[in-house]
Structures are given as C-alpha cells and as structure tokens.
Symmetry: C2
Subunit: 126 residues, 2 copies
DNA sequence: GCTGGACCTGACGCCGATGTCAAGGCATAC
DNA sequence: GTATGCCTTGACATCGGCGTCAGGTCCAGC
C-alpha cells in the first residue's frame, strides 16, 4: 500500500509517517516512480508507534519497540530494550504523578482557604 | 531597584523579567536614562508569578493574581478571577492525574507481563 | 578619557510532533 | 490533451518560557 492508505488505516497523517521515516523509526521501500510502498507489517509498526506516542512516549523511545517487532517478535515489548524504556517511563510517570498530586493538594488547600474567606465576606475589593 | 537586583532577589533572570513585561503581566517605571525601576511591591509580584509558574501555571494565567495583588490585596488569590483560575487548573490537574494514573497502571501491567515471559524464558531472539 | 559593568532593544534558537503551503512528477479517467 | 488526485521533497509555522548573542547606551571609578 502507499502512504495515503497507510495513514488512513493507522489513523494518522502522511506528514507524520514521513516524519517517522525521517527520524529513522520507520522504513519504506520505494516503487519505480519513487512512491513509498508499505505492507501489513508496517501497519503494525505504525500502530505500535502511535500507541506509545499517545501514552506519552517520545518518538525516539518507540524505536526499541519497533526494532523488536521487526526482529520478528509478536509484541514490541518482548525485548529487554523495550522493557528498559518501560521502566524508565514508569519512573518518569511516577515522579510526574507525585508532583501533580502535590500541586493538586495545594490547589485544593488554596480553594478551601478562599472559600472560608469568601463566606466571611472579607477580601477582594476589585 | 533595577532589573538586575530584582532578578537576583526573585531568583530569576533579567530576560524573564523583560519577558513578563513584554507579555503584560509585569509593569515597570523607567528612570530618566531609560532603565527599568522597581520597588518592593514588584518583588512580591514577581514572587507570585514565579510561584505559580513553578506549579505549572501558564504566564497568562498568572495575570489575575498579579492584578489582584496590585489592587491592594494581601494575597494574589483574594479575587474571584484568581479563584476561577485555581478551579480551572485544579480540573486540568485532576484530568492529567487520571491520564497519568492509567498510563502508570498500563506500564505496570506490561512490566508484570514481561516479567512472566522473562521467567518462562520465552520471547526475544534479538 | 578610558574601562568595565549593568542596562537597553531586537532577534534568533530550542524542543517535538505535526500542520500546511509550495512546486513539481506521475498516472488514471475522460 | 487536460483535469484530477496522489505522490514527492523542502521548508516555514506552531506553542512557551526562556537562553543567548549582537550592537549600542549610560554611569561610576580610576
């Protein structure tokens, strides 16, 4: 299939697919007229990439998964390199969760305090 | 005080202060020679801005707080407009927390599955 | 008068994934 | 032959908060 069909079937854009190729995470054969030619396995690769991106992975981080699939594995995370990325990402996510959680608590506190102020009628002369 | 001192005392850079001014969240008087002149109240404004930025607010979102302080309130969140921003931000943060939490769970699952695979010795021929 | 430091404005760079426009090639349908 | 549509490469735009460089001004100390 050509790039338009791959884009449609993978729910992305031709621009993105060319970008993935430019970044070295997706390869393509070329037909005689220079058009990119893909097959079903490429569709799986793109779906893997898209799934990871949507979860918050960077494009570069998807490479081990793609390589793993290309190596013939049934799933992209069957390789140690992919697992390492999982682990790093999990650590990142957990750290981010901690930060966000404390931000949330802080916001709730401020809102609670503001509510008290509001009920007592003191405050903003704006 | 001039911009250098304000930057030092607020723990930021002169570049940032000029940027805040450019974006309309921080004002400045000018001395005869064109230099920016600040006072202690500006220091409080900048500290408010920095605090909010560090929590994940966008610069534009800090404006109500700054306006509130400039209106003579003891704290930047004494005004309804600030409270609204708090509420919007809280909603954003909670949504983000939900997403991240499910991502975290997903990652944990994948890692657990991978561990099983690893122990059984099946998998990656890379 | 010179040097150095702090200030000024203006403008480009970054990061990351993608939109979008431009200008052209090739093929299919009429 | 021409219209249409998909393909090609290349390159600029986006968003946000800054870093950083360039080139020039102003003032204090010597």
């Amino acid at each position: 299939m050509r790039i338009g069909e791959l884009a449609a079937r993978s729910g992305t854009s031709t621009r993105s697919l060319r970008y993935y190729e430019e970044q070295g995470v997706l390869a393509s054969r070329r037909t005689a007229n220079g058009h990119r030619e893909y097959d079903e396995s490429d569709l799986r690769l793109v779906r893997e990439i898209r799934g990871l991106l949507s979860i918050g992975f960077g494009l570069a981080e998807t490479r081990p998964f793609v390589d793993c699939l290309r190596a013939g594995n049934a799933s992209g995370d069957a390789c140690p390199a992919s697992i390492d990325v999982y682990r790093r990402k999990l650590a990142e996510v957990e750290q981010c969760l901690d930060r966000l959680t404390s931000v949330r608590d802080h916001l709730r506190n401020q809102l609670a305090i503001a509510d008290e102020r509001g009920e007592r009628g003191s405050g903003c002369p704006c």
